[in-house]
Symmetry: C2
Subunit: 185 residues, 2 copies
């Protein structure tokens, strides 16, 4: 099974990127590939593949790795804050997802000051899927619905190891975080 990873200086790593956008017009602002506004009738948005709304102010998609120069420039020129979370890459069946890093990413995701916000990784399947799945656990979704959502994006690349990670992920340390813009009980 293909694992999205890069080798830099002998260290294999993967990143979860979390981009924060301001002001709040996510599709317009997050699409560096949008066709220039020459003729409004013929302009189209080109949302990235695996693009979806996760919750109020929270979106997900895939993004090429390493982070494209065009995106870096777009982010800079539009005042978008980029959070990068390195995750060590391990191939199945030895996938070792660092729970603390996922927790750090979730703290960024849950902070409404960072919204609107786009979660992405190379395929928008595994690392993004785990972050979103752990968010759903915090929102008290039952596991079968968490996995249904994960599998919709991962499709044929769905990993039992990711799903086991989400099942075992302990949300208790995050329960104190406010989720004012997210769906909550």
């Amino acid at each position: 099974m293909k694992v999205e990873e890069e080798v830099h200086g002998g260290n294999i790593y993967r990143t979860i990127e979390v981009a924060v956008v301001d002001p709040p017009s996510p599709i317009t602002k997050l699409s560096p590939t949008a066709v220039p506004d020459n003729n409004s009738d013929d302009d189209f948005f080109i949302p990235p593949l695996n693009f979806s709304m996760v919750d109020n102010g929270i979106f997900r998609c895939l993004c090429p790795e390493p982070y494209p120069e065009a995106n870096a420039q777009f982010v800079k020129s539009n005042g978008i804050q980029l959070f990068q979370f390195g995750i060590e890459g391990c191939k199945e069946p030895f996938v070792n997802i660092p729970e603390d890093t996922i927790r750090e990413a979730l703290q960024v995701v849950l902070d409404v000051k960072n919204h609107p916000l786009l979660i992405h990784c190379k395929r928008g399947k595994h690392r993004t899927g785990c972050v979103v799945g752990c968010l759903r656990k915090l929102q008290k979704w039952c596991l079968s619905s968490v996995f249904d959502e994960y599998q919709r994006f991962a499709a044929a690349k769905a990993r039992v190891s990711d799903q086991r990670f989400m099942e075992l992920f302990d949300v208790s340390s995050l329960k104190h975080l406010p989720m004012s813009s997210c769906s909550k009980r």
Copy 2:
């Protein structure tokens, strides 16, 4: 290929249901299957399969057909307005999706007075996928991203006929509608 259809009085029909919810706490309010609130630590939400946020105030999922009695009671007791749009069922390759009915459904979906709102059909794949796909066209998504989203929900049941319908769907008569709560250019 299995087509979701019912025969009543000799007429084959299918329905698109569009449920409008008030007040705005969609997951809580839209889940008649949520476990009663006996013990808040052990309660979970059970979002329906193929459940997803489409846009601000707009959600999608599957729903059994005919419309379950439990749902009908839940809708009634929670002041939820139910819109039903009958669509004649035809098996591929003779699928005939009534463009006018999709347009009527879209007018309900786009009216922010009806938000939060849940779009659903039996599988949350074909009819719901077409309504959402036509909404994306109105939002000026490129077709490849419209189809990417459609296929994520339809998976192995994706239909070329649905995608052809979305491609040919003429949004010009809907462009005058306000989309104040939706992502728009």
